[in-house]
Amino acid sequence: MDVVINGEHRQVKSGTLLELLAELELDPRAVVVEHNRKIVRRVGLGDATVSEGDAIELVHFVGGG
């Protein structure tokens, strides 16, 4: 199904946010997830289901001043 991850359309398998991170080969401890503008805590990633058209932001810390 089609979702928007970090501003770009992407085809992903249906499932939870935790499964999505695994599909993207991302360590859940190393990213913060925003699902349709709501932050999802790490403990809740396995309970949140991804639906067609969802907007997902995956962020982390980078160098900055």
Partner: protein, 265 residues
């Protein structure tokens, strides 16, 4: 035989209940490579290190998290809201940063203008109030305006961070009077953030009596960032010690240092 360097005993810097040994805080942006960044941070002696919140690069070939190179057990990660141009965005970034799970501190930036990167103080105050309500320890990046600084303190900010000069400009401390005034009038710590270009700028800034200084480009964009980080560490200490020592009064005429009596005929 060793010689002890005598320095004036100083209180450690405490912000939002957290105590820091160094009065120098450094950023992690714009380094030529990560190894240089790590060595420069170590040379700076800083225990507070700023980071930015950005999207993960999904193809992951180009960049990775700064946390692959920094140990959050050894340094205090201070997330910023750099790049945010309104209160709502800054609040969103701050919440995301806190969710990373390290601490509830945020270096709050709400930028008002792309050319100068000067703060939007209305948006800054608005965001500060919301974030303080949500339990954040807000360190507010602001201009060197006393009234805004007072309002930020009233809003509950843990520290106020007036600029020395625009971000990345390297122009040094342009308005020492205003920064001194802010320091004199605020109860919360005042940490000068942005604009320092070289070690003398850091020293002059600390001589104003402010509690700390934060810089990024001055170190990262130096020809030798590690050497500049060492210089900044020493300059920060030198400026602080000079402030604590209390400088001599300025005078417009000379006064001889050597005796005027005992001269030969």
């Amino acid at each position: 035989m060793t010689t002890a360097v005598e320095t004036i005993r100083d209180e450690p810097l405490t912000i939002g209940g957290q105590t820091f040994q160094s009065r120098l805080m450094v950023g992690t942006g714009k380094y030529p490579d990560m190894e240089t960044m790590v060595r420069a941070i170590e040379a700076s002696g800083a225990d507070v290190v700023t980071v930015a919140v950005r999207r993960v690069n999904l193809d992951r070939s180009k960049e990775s998290s700064v946390l692959h190179f920094l140990d959050p057990k050894k340094i205090f990660l201070l997330a910023n809201t750099a790049g945010c141009y309104n209160a709502a965005d800054a609040i969103r970034y701050a919440r995301l940063a806190r969710e990373a799970g390290f601490n509830d501190f945020v270096k709050l930036e709400v930028i008002g203008d792309e050319e100068t990167l000067l703060p939007d103080v209305a948006g800054l105050l608005e965001a500060a109030k919301v974030l303080v309500q949500e339990g954040f320890k807000v360190l507010a990046y602001t201009n060197e305006d006393l009234i805004t600084a007072l309002r930020l303190e009233d809003a509950g900010c843990a520290a106020v961070m007036p600029l020395a000069s625009p971000i990345g400009s390297g122009l040094g401390l342009l308005n020492p009077f205003s920064v001194r005034t802010i320091k004199r009038r605020l109860r919360v710590p005042v940490v000068v953030d942005a604009g320092v270009g070289t070690a003398s700028d850091a020293c002059v800034t600390m001589e104003q009596g402010v509690d700390g200084i934060l810089m990024n480009t001055a170190i990262a964009a130096a020809q030798d960032p590690v050497a500049m980080a060492t210089a900044m560490r020493l300059a920060t200490i030198a400026g602080r010690q000079a402030f604590l020592a209390g400088r001599m009064p300025k005078r417009e005429v000379a006064m001889p240092s050597s005796p005027t009596k005992g001269m030969l005929d």
